[in-house]
Symmetry: C2
Subunit: 410 residues, 2 copies
């Protein structure tokens, strides 16, 4: 997956890194987020993004709006899944109005789209074995329910090949390696109906869904909307009339409040709504999208490339001698905003970073240390200091002493 040779230039010193931060037009956005412990270096925004002041304010305002209007707020709230979906589409996904909905979880949304796709394609349901666990589990279940072959191909390339005539589910950014696929090229290369998982891409890279048919993604990573914030679902406009959700909920029904007999799906993307959406969660996302919009997804993605570039250069210079391998593509156009480092002791190293070094990374089994560089909340100094502390741990070997029995829950 990664390029063979690591010929990266020698890394900058700490002063040069401070200069990078000083010159960065996005640097002021860091002040929009809550940082409780400035001494702790947070490199896990790829798992859970930070709370912004805007989102905190929006949550309070949403609660107060509920308090003030109670049920009379619904005429406004009812529009939120589609309205904030439109904003998300424009701000971060390159999709058009009426193509994105904010609701439910990624798992539930993928379940809906996989069934909808299975109504249109008779072939196998295919993903790559390296895809995110919930995607694999959902697809295996849907394939069984629909009597279809389920294929977990060893690589993305093999998955594209195996999916001919069927349904292909791929993560645009791989959750472990950080590899960013070429959405347009994959779409052109297959006649399968492709569902994109954008969890590790949305808010980190420029996504252009114009070439895509179906997609899902979460909002709690680079979109900073909070733990368990509502997910999103995309279906290209022209496909919508031919797609049906397997979950026939009242929010997806035409003339919902007519409450009439029988299920008749709504015309647009709303047919993929199910139950009552989380109004507070959607309003939190809306506020967070305001920040993304201000910063600009192009600027954000460029900063992600620079942050990950710095990480890779430091890893080559400082960590490779200790047996650390960079799994993430060196071509910045082929990666997201996180970097995967392979080391046989990745788990104790991750624990030691958290417990002893004040650095928060995450770990992906069996041997990957994952460092996320959420573009709006990570500084170049964070990258440098985080890698420096990691270098220190590898040099003194103290990570061998940590308690590795800690329960892993992220």
């Amino acid at each position: 997956m990664n390029d063979p040779a690591p010929p990266s230039s020698s890394p900058p010193d700490r002063r040069a890194v401070d200069a990078l931060d000083a010159a960065d037009p996005l640097a002021p956005f860091r002040d929009r987020f809550v940082v409780a412990d400035p001494g702790r270096i947070y490199l896990d925004g790829n798992s859970l993004g930070r709370l912004s002041v805007d989102v905190r304010d929006a949550l309070v305002a949403a609660a107060d709006d509920w308090g003030a209007r109670v049920v009379e707020g619904w005429p406004d709230w009812i529009e939120l899944p589609a309205r904030v979906g439109d904003r998300l589409a424009a701000v971060a996904l390159g999709a058009r109005p009426g193509e994105v909905l904010v609701a439910d979880s990624v798992t539930v949304n993928l379940y809906k789209l996989a069934h909808a796709a299975a109504d249109r394609r008779a072939g196998p349901i295919v993903t790559d074995a390296g895809n995110f666990p919930t995607d694999r589990y959902v697809l295996e279940g849907v394939a069984r329910q629909r009597g279809r072959a389920y294929v977990e191909a060893p690589t993305v390339e093999a998955a594209v090949e195996a999916a001919a005539g069927g349904i292909l589910v791929l993560s645009l950014v791989d959750y472990r390696t950080g590899t960013l696929l070429d959405l347009e090229a994959v779409t052109r290369a297959t006649d399968a109906l492709v569902i994109w998982d954008l969890c590790h891409a949305a808010g980190a890279v420029e996504v252009d869904l114009a070439a895509a048919e179906l997609a899902v993604g979460c909002t709690y990573k680079y979109l900073n909307a909070g733990p368990g914030a509502p997910a999103f679902l995309y279906a290209r406009r022209d496909l919508q009339p031919s797609l049906g959700s397997p979950i026939h909920g009242w929010f997806g029904r035409r003339d919902q409040f007519g409450m009439g007999p029988g299920y008749d799906p709504a015309d647009g993307i709303e047919r993929f709504l199910a139950g009552t959406p989380s109004i507070l969660g959607i309003r939190a996302l809306d506020a967070s999208l305001g920040i993304i919009e201000e910063a600009g997804i192009g600027e954000i993605a460029a900063r992600a490339r620079s942050l990950t570039d710095l990480c890779i250069r430091l890893a080559d210079a400082w960590l490779a001698p200790h047996g650390v391998e960079v799994l993430t593509p060196r071509d910045p156009s082929r990666r997201g905003a996180h970097v995967a480092l392979r080391h046989p002791d990745a788990w104790p190293i991750a624990r030691a970073l958290i417990e002893r070094a004040g650095v928060v990374p995450d770990f992906r089994p069996p041997d990957v240390l994952r460092l996320g560089f959420s573009p709006l909340t990570t500084s170049f100094a964070d990258v440098w200091d985080g890698l420096d502390r990691l270098r220190g741990l590898l040099e003194d070997g103290a990570y061998h002493e940590v308690d590795t029995a800690a329960r892993r829950v992220t």
Copy 2:
């Protein structure tokens, strides 16, 4: 459904009603809730409950906890769906630890349980035609997916009969008439696997799930957890090993963070989790349950009976002469916390109450005005004044002049 004759005693005067409020041990709980406009009488807590100060504080605390701990909060948060489920079970449902989960929406949870039930029973999927729309839509869809007969029986009694050998879905409290079924008697009367919809029951009446097999419900009505707050799901402990969710998500998998190949459901109720649950939503519910716990569900249910009794007596005395019919059972042990009034002009009357009389009811097609008496937030004076304003509208006929083109979204 309702008893033939309305022999209710003559209603108290306004002073006697104030005395009822003064003597009520639950009256002080009203001050725990936000009331933005004290002149507006809110009789729609059966649709959306009010914001409490505790819930507002909990939302802020949950946001700040996210801000402070970011991903390091997950070791605590991961327990919330089951832990708050246990609290809900104890406080309001008469269920045991490990039997209730807080997650997703009612629609999605019913979808899961209907599929799980269809794995165990070969017969038809049955509900009554008067059941809540999303239940009917979901079940119709599941029946089609599973190749089962779907029966919408004209009455609950006919549904019980039709469900022999199959799956029966009933609302414990009917969303229109307010009729409270006898859970134990229904369960004894059928060999069907019964799924109870507790949306209009939880927090309004004493529910005893000991006799029940499966159930779902929402938390945004009488449990006051906010618009779109996470729903709940109940499965009796001994049945859990034989039940599987159709949605194979990572949160429902054994050893979730092992992220291994293949889906293997978790042992307990957690197997019905799907994607990442809304942490802020669950924490809001947790705070609201604290209030329910303090007040006591027995006291709350008793107050609901008294409030609805007052409503029915006033309706008999004041509204019946104007053609209003009480659809709700007069036996207090057979109703929930709302009262249904039938009138051919129910829709313009509902609009006039909202726009001209400062009373917030809701409307259920075709001709039902629904008045909800959320026990912790509705006073006896609210009932008296609300009915008095309704009487005024009926007397002067001014409801004929309102704009009935308003979009109905609750």
